[in-house]
């Protein structure tokens, strides 16, 4: 285990050094990403400005959700880049080499590539959470801050799990993987608003199949003292982010099933 952590950190450090060679690209990509999320936010702001609130949630509260889900996604994107790019590896038959090495395949794919330098989404997300946390009267305590951090990390686990599942699909087919964007980018878009906005089937899907509700809507509801699911005991709302970690564990198990189905290709 210690060995695995050591190896992972080495992978990360190498990736970091390589990316530092392209400074201009770092600035441009980050700026482009900042603008891309920025215009999405402008849309949310304009709607709240015109309609006042959505399902009773006001601007600061929506901004908190928006910021948290974007931090989660940015973290998953930085660390899960190897899984995101995995289809190219399968197409070229390069996965064979990883199978020969005496380390877990998930660890090696995770260490394949990181994306530390696109900080636009992360910066905007952090800025929003800080602004929302300051402007809302939450009464911040150590426990509430821990819940905020836990929910954000839980969200990162969910998106990381989705990247792993997307990569696992490659063992069966490398075509039409864009359909997974509906879950990753679509999930980000959906979790920017309280789940009460959506129809029941959609809410259930993003709670029980892809557990984004457990890492955003429920814990944020607990933070803000808002009713979410009346039947749910308060203690469970505080534990909800653990569902994100569980989803990641399940995704890794599915990955291992996928690896067993791998048949090499390429020449």
């Amino acid at each position: 285990m210690r060995d695995a952590v050591h190896l992972y950190l080495r992978f990360a450090a190498t990736s970091m050094r390589a990316q530092m060679q392209y400074r201009a690209s770092f600035v441009l990509f980050s700026l482009a990403q900042f603008l891309g999320i920025g215009v999405e936010f402008l849309g949310v702001w304009a709607l709240v400005d015109r309609f006042g609130a959505v399902r009773g949630w006001r601007l600061g509260e929506v901004v908190l959700l928006f910021g948290m889900v974007n931090i989660s996604f940015a973290l998953a994107e930085s660390f899960g880049r190897g899984f995101d790019m995995f289809s190219a590896m399968v197409k070229k038959g390069e996965f064979d080499r990883l199978l020969l090495r005496p380390r877990s395949t998930a660890l090696q794919v995770a260490g394949l590539e990181f994306q530390f330098l696109r900080v636009g989404r992360l910066a905007l997300g952090v800025g929003m959470v800080v602004w929302a946390a300051a402007s809302l009267r939450v009464g911040w305590s150590a426990a509430r801050l821990a819940l905020l951090a836990g929910a954000t990390l839980g969200g990162a686990c969910v998106f990381y799990g989705l990247f792993i599942l997307q990569a696992t699909l490659c063992f069966w087919s490398v075509e039409s993987l864009e359909i997974m964007n509906a879950l990753t980018y679509g999930g980000t878009e959906a979790a920017q608003y309280p789940l009460s906005v959506y129809r029941p089937w959609f809410r259930r899907f993003f709670t029980f199949v892809v557990p984004l509700g457990f890492v955003s809507y429920l814990p944020v509801g607990a933070l803000l003292g808002r009713a979410t699911v009346p039947a749910l005991p308060e203690a469970l709302r505080w534990c909800a982010p653990l569902a994100g970690a569980a989803f990641l564990v399940v995704s890794l198990a599915v990955w291992r099933i996928g690896v067993r189905h791998y048949r090499s290709t390429g020449s």
Binding site: R50, F51, S176, G186
Partner: protein
């Protein structure tokens, strides 16, 4: 005109082959459309807030139009990936050797690479969204005709815009800075993030002054009936003026870029 027309036909037919990609893209657009219409529906369900310049039905139709015509706008194939590869590898020399005008050549490519994928995605999107997701047909024939005319002109305008961006590759092949930053402006300024009429009233003159409104929002409002068919001439005039300006800009860039172009490789 003939060589350009032949090129357009060839690109068009080649792009029509990518049916699996179109299907996956269609699925993703459909999913996003469902999310967006639910979000807007929730906003409309609230009681507070200011005046509402569009009804929920009109907003729903507007969102589905955006999903149907998403590929017409210059996000995905922008700058033209084929031209980028040609410039990087030096194969652009073959383009230069042809007895054709380089800007018109690239404009033709840009037009074909927008129209073919859009046609493949737009028709099924209309069918599914009208049947299941609350999209409506135009209120009357004149609105449908006016929207079609404005949409066709919008295709030309976006192609002219995309060609300007492609031309900047003659300066920077690696950075692609402008090409990565402009799509966000197009996205918000054309009405793809939220319908433009829903922005605050004070922002409307600014949105009208930009070229992006004419790429999607104007034809959409003609379709819905928020703009009367009699407004078609004004819309077309604005689209034509922007197209002309962008073609002139693109031609200037290509001409200057060609003069300082140094070809490498053996």
């Amino acid at each position: 005109m003939t060589p350009y027309l032949a090129l357009f036909r060839a690109r068009f037919r080649a792009l029509l082959q990518y049916r699996a990609a179109a299907l996956a893209g269609f699925g993703t657009q459909l999913f996003f459309g469902i999310i967006r219409t639910m979000i807007l529906g929730a906003f409309y369900a609230g009681q507070g807030g200011g005046a509402r310049p569009m009804t929920l039905g009109e907003t729903t139709t507007y969102i589905w139009l955006g999903q149907a015509f998403f590929y017409l706008l210059p996000f995905s194939a922008n700058p033209d990936p084929d031209v980028r590869d040609m410039i990087k590898s030096g194969q652009v020399v073959y383009e230069l050797a042809r007895p054709l005008d380089l800007h018109t050549l690239w404009l033709t490519r840009a037009l074909a690479s927008r129209v073919a994928p859009t046609l493949m995605r737009a028709l099924p999107m209309f069918v599914v969204a009208i049947a299941f997701f609350g999209m409506t047909l135009p209120p009357a024939w004149p609105a449908a005709l006016a929207a079609t005319a404005a949409m066709a002109m919008a295709a030309l305008l976006t192609a002219a815009f995309a060609t300007v961006i492609t031309a900047t590759l003659l300066w920077t092949t690696s950075g692609e800075g402008i090409a990565r930053i402009l799509p966000s402006l197009v996205l918000i300024g054309s009405g793809m993030v939220i319908p433009l009429p829903l922005f605050p009233d004070w922002a409307q003159p600014l949105l009208t002054a930009l070229p992006f409104r004419a790429m999607a929002d104007d034809p959409f409002r003609l379709y819905i009936g928020l703009l009367p068919p009699s407004a078609l001439l004004a819309v077309l005039a604005r689209q034509a003026a922007w197209t002309l300006a962008l073609v002139l800009l693109g031609r200037g860039l290509v001409a200057r870029g060609q003069r300082r172009l140094v070809l490498q490789g053996g």
